[in-house]
């Protein structure tokens, strides 16, 4: 089948592409990139006002399957991903049971077969994520995981982290760390600041994040291997990562859109959708995160999409679970808060949301080049829209961004010979 994507601006810094072009796709493979293509085709999509970029990848999502299918499934997570402009998702292993052996890896991958979105499971570092013994990292590597993490919890001890980095280096896969010294956070639910004092909520200090980052960096120096810091939220951690990169350590980091879009002021009305781990921080932290994105300290923007049931988010603030959904607001927030504010160029955003995540986690490359399987995200950079949580494809609606007016929207995605556009999924093979 021949499909023609017309009139969009095609942008891919990997191949120095930034022109208004038509793209011809035959059976899912890019065969021509030219302006004003005249070609007899099966379908034409006029993408005037749009840009076509390499398919975005979100390397930090919780798909909740197996175990909490009431909150999300691989299938609904994929739909949310498509709606949010992503063609690849890396899903965290804090499921029930945890993704800690090949069988569960295969189970999750099987749920995603024949999908537009590529789903890459991340394996647990320790058995049952209990922090006691290494999980079957080798077996999971063979089954296709792209990294290891006990996310939701930090890697429990320095000893386990040392083993994890040593062992995973045999497969050249990164350990993703959720930086949190639990002895400091205890029952904390929001950033420790003047606001936690005013709101009377148990504090969760940024100190807890940077201490584990520092611990892990020293271990990384000692052992080698690859370390990736998940959802960096504080200026101290940005600084520590910047310094580690200057020392040429094999370390990378990510930030979520909610950590650069909100401060802990958002907790004022005790909306449990603002309860996330790590917690929302201060404006100084937001500024440092943005600076870290600009100077390359932070490599990746990832959502930490964390679906939770309505019932659980209706618990009192101190009891409600941590997390918010993010797949369907990630691109809009990034364009609104970083692109339209001139903090990042479109090319830089493509690096943070497609090229870097794919490179760091060795996902299939997305490159807008003739002869390569098309893996594309279509954006309208200037469309203004209002976040409506009831229109989410995700099974959960725990977002504090409902009603927000955003500028820039994912319009469609194309991958694996499938196109999702205008709310319709079609095969283009």
């Amino acid at each position: 089948m021949k499909v023609l994507l017309k009139n969009a601006i095609t942008v891919d810094p990997q191949v120095n592409l930034n022109f208004q072009n038509d793209i011809l796709i035959e059976n899912g493979v890019i065969t021509k990139i030219e302006s004003n293509l005249k070609e007899k085709v099966d379908a034409v999509y006029d993408l005037k006002d749009c840009v076509i970029v390499p398919g975005f990848a979100d390397v930090h999502v919780h798909l909740r399957e197996p175990g909490r299918e009431d909150e999300e499934t691989v299938k609904t997570g994929i739909e949310a991903g498509m709606n949010g402009g992503f063609t690849a998702l890396c899903c965290m292993p804090n499921t029930e049971p945890a993704i800690d052996c090949a069988e569960v890896v295969t189970f999750v991958k099987d749920r995603a077969t024949n999908s537009l979105v590529d789903v890459y499971p991340i394996g647990a570092v320790t058995k049952k994520r209990e922090g006691k013994e290494l999980a079957l990292l080798g077996e999971m590597y063979e089954a296709g995981v792209v990294a290891f993490s006990d996310d939701g919890e930090p890697v429990s001890t320095a000893k386990i982290m040392k083993y994890a980095l040593e062992y995973s280096s045999m497969f050249d896969l990164p350990i993703i760390e959720h930086c949190e010294d639990k002895s400091l956070t205890e029952n904390g639910v929001m950033n420790e600041s003047l606001n936690s004092t005013k709101f009377g909520l148990p504090p969760h200090p940024s100190l807890a994040e940077v201490i584990i980052a520092l611990r892990d960096i020293e271990i990384l120096k000692y052992t080698g291997g690859k370390l990736h810091l998940a959802h960096i939220s504080s200026k101290e951690t940005v600084e520590v990562l910047r310094k580690a990169k200057k020392e040429n350590l094999n370390i990378t980091g990510e930030v979520t859109p909610h950590h650069f879009s909100l401060t802990d002021d958002a907790v004022a009305n005790y909306d449990t959708n603002t309860k996330v781990n790590p917690p929302l921080r201060t404006q100084a932290d937001v500024d440092a995160l943005i600076e870290g994105l600009k100077d390359g300290t932070i490599d990746i923007i990832a959502s930490d999409h964390a679906p939770h049931s309505i019932e659980e988010k209706e618990w009192e603030f101190i009891y409600a679970p941590f997390g918010m959904v993010g797949l369907e607001t990630s691109v809009g927030l990034t364009l609104t808060k970083l692109f339209h504010t001139n903090f990042l160029s479109l090319n830089e955003i493509i690096y943070k949301m497609s090229i870097n995540p794919r490179k760091i986690f060795k996902l299939r490359e997305a490159r807008i080049q003739i002869g390569i399987q098309a893996n594309l995200t279509i954006l309208n950079l200037y469309q203004e829209w209002t976040v409506d949580k009831y229109s989410f494809k995700s099974k959960s609606i725990n977002t504090p961004f409902h009603g927000w007016k955003l500028k820039g929207k994912p319009i469609g995605v194309l991958n694996n010979s499938k196109l999702f556009y205008e709310n319709k999924l079609v095969s283009i093979y």
């Binding site: 003047l194 004092t197 709101f199 009377g200 009305n269 005790y270 019932e311 009192e316």
Partner: protein
């Protein structure tokens, strides 16, 4: 008229509201000295005391205030949170509201629960203490007591002593007293001072003698062992040694310092018996004033609804 139909805390409550409550409380304070202590002001109104955390004093004080205003009173106590009980706060409260009640007085271990209630129900909500957040009626009765003794709040030096980080009483007092123009200080172990408190305009002492030199009023908090304070300091004995208010320490000040305590007292820990029972202690007056202040709050909020 009060600016809000709820009393969730004293943060950002305007000065005129606090003055109105304190002035109204003065009238009720006179009424409760009479042989017949009951007035028909809230006749036909139903008030629910929704206590999700064990409390005797505050509940009794509210209940008495409600009964003296002739309201119909319902007491609902649940010592466990909604989480362990299986029923959410939302369901519990909606059930109770379905019985057509007018006002809810809520005590809950989770900060923000009263705020959440206002999103769920139409009834007026009065916060009787939420976690480590606020306890506005306690602060109002403290301010009432201070104002009775000094005739004013503005310019007075008030120091709150103890575990500030776990204290809703401290936070409500800080917000209210700052609004009223008092000079507010706290004194306690560094481990019990919440982050960035001084940014509110509060002076922080960690030496009790400095605090005593500063103070016209010492509001001494209970060491809340039940709220996990035990890990914040080495021992009760050491706490008493460093921060306990004793007669000897008070003698170092030239002023007659007013001694307050929200109760219940840990004698020999945060203050010695001779201070608690001494001539400058107004601890029991606070209790009496508490009923009058709560009557004022219930009355002002209850009648405000009628005007709407």
């Amino acid at each position: 008229m009060l600016s809000s139909r709820h009393l969730l805390g004293l943060y950002q409550v305007p000065k005129k509201d606090i003055e109105l409550i304190l002035d109204t409380a003065k009238t009720f304070r006179e009424i409760i000295e009479r042989p017949i202590k009951k007035v028909p002001t809230l006749q036909g109104k139903t008030v629910v005391n929704l206590f999700f955390e064990s409390s005797t004093r505050t509940r009794i004080s509210f209940e008495l205030a409600e009964k003296r205003l002739s309201a119909d009173v319902l007491n609902f106590s649940a010592s466990t949170s909604s989480l362990t009980k299986g029923e959410t706060l939302k369901d519990t409260v909606r059930n109770i509201e379905a019985m057509k009640i007018d006002m809810v007085v809520i005590r809950h271990s989770a900060a923000g629960s009263p705020h959440y209630l206002t999103q769920l129900i139409d009834a007026n909500v009065i916060n009787a203490g939420d976690g480590s957040h606020e306890h506005p009626t306690q602060a109002l009765l403290d301010m009432y007591t201070i104002r009775e003794k000094f005739g004013k709040l503005e310019g007075l030096n008030v120091c709150i002593v103890g575990d500030i980080s776990h204290s809703r009483v401290a936070m409500s007092n800080i917000f209210g007293l700052l609004t009223m123009g008092a000079n507010v200080a706290v004194c306690g172990p560094k481990t019990m001072i919440p982050k960035d408190l001084e940014k509110l305009g509060v002076t922080v002492f960690t030496n009790i003698d400095d605090a005593i030199q500063f103070a016209d009023v010492l509001n001494i908090l209970r060491i809340q062992l039940e709220r996990g304070a035990a890990s914040n300091f080495p021992s009760l004995r050491e706490y008493h040694r460093l921060f306990g208010i004793t007669k000897e320490r008070l003698l170092k000040s030239k002023k007659d310092i007013l001694i307050m305590h929200p109760g219940p007292i840990n004698r020999g820990v945060e203050l010695s018996s001779d201070v608690a029972d001494g001539s400058n202690s107004v601890i029991l007056e606070q209790v009496t004033n508490g009923v009058a202040v709560r009557m004022a709050v219930l009355y002002l909020i209850g009648t405000r609804t009628e005007e709407n």
